[in-house]
Amino acid sequence: MLTTLTKAFIQGDWAELQSKLLHSTSWTQHHATMYGTDQLRRIPIAWLKLAGKCSIEHSLVINQGQQQVIQFDLTPQLPQSSQPTQSSQANHQSIPYIFWLETNGKVIKSVDAILDTRQLALATNHTPAELAQNLPQPDPLVLPAYDQQDHLQGDLATPENIGGLTGDLAHLLNTWWRIWSIGQLSEITAIYAENATISLPAADSKDSRLSLFHYISNQYSALTRIFCQIEKLISDTNQVAIKWHLDADEQGSGIRVPFITILTIEDGKIIADNTCCDIIAHGKRFTNSKLFTD
């Protein structure tokens, strides 16, 4: 489906994308789930309206069974007069847009997509408020109140038990998961290569292991009752994609942050980590959250 998404989101070829969608295809993006031609057609159109014509700086595809993860790093080709005026390095970075597809190779049953809307805003000179107006209303989902502790019941999803992984890969990914799920920061240097490139939400540049350390410790200090849940995991050769979310209380109010992380592994270590979430949609859904406020 790489060609299909490329045609839709770069060239505006809606018919090509529509030919791959079922009448029952669901598309979840920006904390909203959409169905039907009218709603789904608006997704690439909204992207093209905000980002304009883009070039693909980088793309990758991970396949396993009927799951396919496609990541684009897209750079807007803005007219000279519309170039971002800020000199921040962030404005020249590409915009990550990740699609998690359930597909049988002929049609797409469902899409879970995460667009780095913060980076989109920076790259296209929109304020977060302007961009938020262009996002759909988030679904009025209710975050369930629950006990986030395991109480030695062994009921928690790990990369190993969700992905059916074994051996070194299972150990590596379980260790990675502990960094996020329990804040086991000391593991960062053990599993990330020294020169690993790490992209994190709301980061202004490609990060290092030290930045990851500070990023997670900052999150943990801002939140209570943190619970991380793996939803899906696929692996292909040396790349792994994980769809997961973080539930927590922020100043007494529940928040949920959906993530997709794509890891590239070489010689038993993570050499690239692209962790993406939709910051502006987060702010639209959780209006009091300051988690990603600069």
Binding site: S24, K109, L141, D147
Partner: protein, 371 residues
């Protein structure tokens, strides 16, 4: 592999990967005998998918006369009717209020009830609908909502002759920007029909006595998965041993409950059940019908129609005055079972109607309102 497998069980239409044009033009020979059904239908799933499309999306509302029995009891948590004119009326009213309503057939879980009884169908539908006209919920909102419905039907000789209809109206109302409790008060202003009150009272009596539904059929249902369905009812509702949920669900299972409640993973699923039962701690649930079909070549789908009765304990202060009254639910659940455990669950009941019944009971003193 599995005993209790009806003929052609694994050949009946599977909707998951099929697009609408393909579903509307089935090719190939008849899969099921379908005695008394029109020749065009190849199996019960095909029948359900195509008559739904014909009536609702192609707007052939008059086809209700072709596909519903002249006498067809229809139970919802807010009403009872048994005449075809009510079916036609309700269809028209809904389409007038939500003219672009789509009915996406997510799944049809069916059961052969035998030559003299027909087929049981549990049809899960996702609707996208824009409120452009006054509705049962109030004035026009202009907003679009997504709603899950499960319609359980008995189909005999080309007609639906009995129906239980469950719609997640509370999630719809939230998307329309309407308040659930205010709407429930408004709905409670209209008195309920005597047939509805009689049926509800009888069901409550039956459930409190822990009696099964009188509507039972002798045709077999996959015994292993029926056992799982009954364990689900027992564990999650009647025994309330939520530590055992890990025996029923995968560690990344996803469940959808009314009102926009969604949970992924064991802790969240436990939390959802606890929050639900906290509103009715002495609830008892009966599994009134179970159907099982294969899901692709990956697992199985289970449809459970169930009822709940117990004492209401308000969590919302605005409902506090109704604490102590009977709380009754007519509900349906679809479970997708992969490798012996639940991977997906969709549970549907009308929360708004449940609250409206409480309010109406209090206002009108309808029958015995306390447990």
């Amino acid at each position: 592999m599995y005993q209790d497998k009806p003929e052609c069980w694994d050949k009946v239409t599977q909707v998951y990967w099929k697009n609408l044009p393909e579903l509307l033009t089935p090719k190939g020979p008849k899969i099921q005998k379908l005695p008394g059904f029109d020749d065009e239908f190849i199996d019960i799933v095909d029948y359900i998918i195509r008559i739904t499309h014909k009536i609702w999306e192609q707007k052939n509302i008059g086809y209700c006369h072709d596909y519903y029995g002249d006498i067809c009891p229809v139970h919802t948590l807010s009403s009872y009717s048994d005449d075809i004119s009510t079916v036609v009326n309700n269809t028209l009213q809904t389409l007038a209020a939500f003219p672009d309503r789509t009915l996406i057939g997510e799944n049809v879980i069916w059961r052969d009830l035998g030559a003299t009884a027909g087929y049981y169908s549990s049809h899960r539908i996702t609707s996208i609908m824009t409120n452009t006209g006054p509705s049962e919920f109030g004035e026009v909102t202009g907003k679009t909502g997504r709603v899950t419905t499960i319609a359980d039907c008995i189909c005999y000789e080309n007609k639906i002759i009995y129906e239980w209809l469950m719609r997640d109206n509370s999630f719809l109302l939230k998307q329309l920007g309407l308040d659930i409790i205010d709407t429930a008060h408004q709905m409670a202003n209209a008195p309920a029909s005597s047939q509805f009150l009689t049926w509800r009272a009888a069901e409550i009596t039956r459930i409190k006595a822990k009696q099964p539904s009188q509507q039972q059929w002798p045709t077999p249902v996959n015994s292993e998965l029926t056992h799982l369905a009954n364990r689900w009812i027992a564990t999650c509702f009647n025994d309330k041993n939520y530590g055992l949920i890990n025996q029923l669900y995968h560690l990344n299972a996803k469940i959808q409950w009314p009102g926009g409640v969604e949970g992924i993973g064991i802790p969240a699923i436990r939390g959802i059940f606890i929050q639900c039962l906290a509103q009715c701690p002495n609830a008892y649930v009966t599994a009134d019908h179970i159907a099982v079909v294969p899901f692709e070549d990956k697992g199985f789908d289970i449809a459970i129609r169930w009822c709940l009765a117990g004492t209401f304990i308000a969590k919302d202060p605005r409902l506090e005055v109704y604490s102590g009254q009977i709380y009754f639910l007519l509900a349906a659940t679809h479970l997708r079972v992969i490798d012996g455990k639940i991977m997906n669950e969709w549970t549907v009941f009308d929360e708004v109607a449940a609250y409206a019944n409480l309010i109406r009971d209090f206002n009108y003193g309808s029958g015995d309102i306390t447990c």
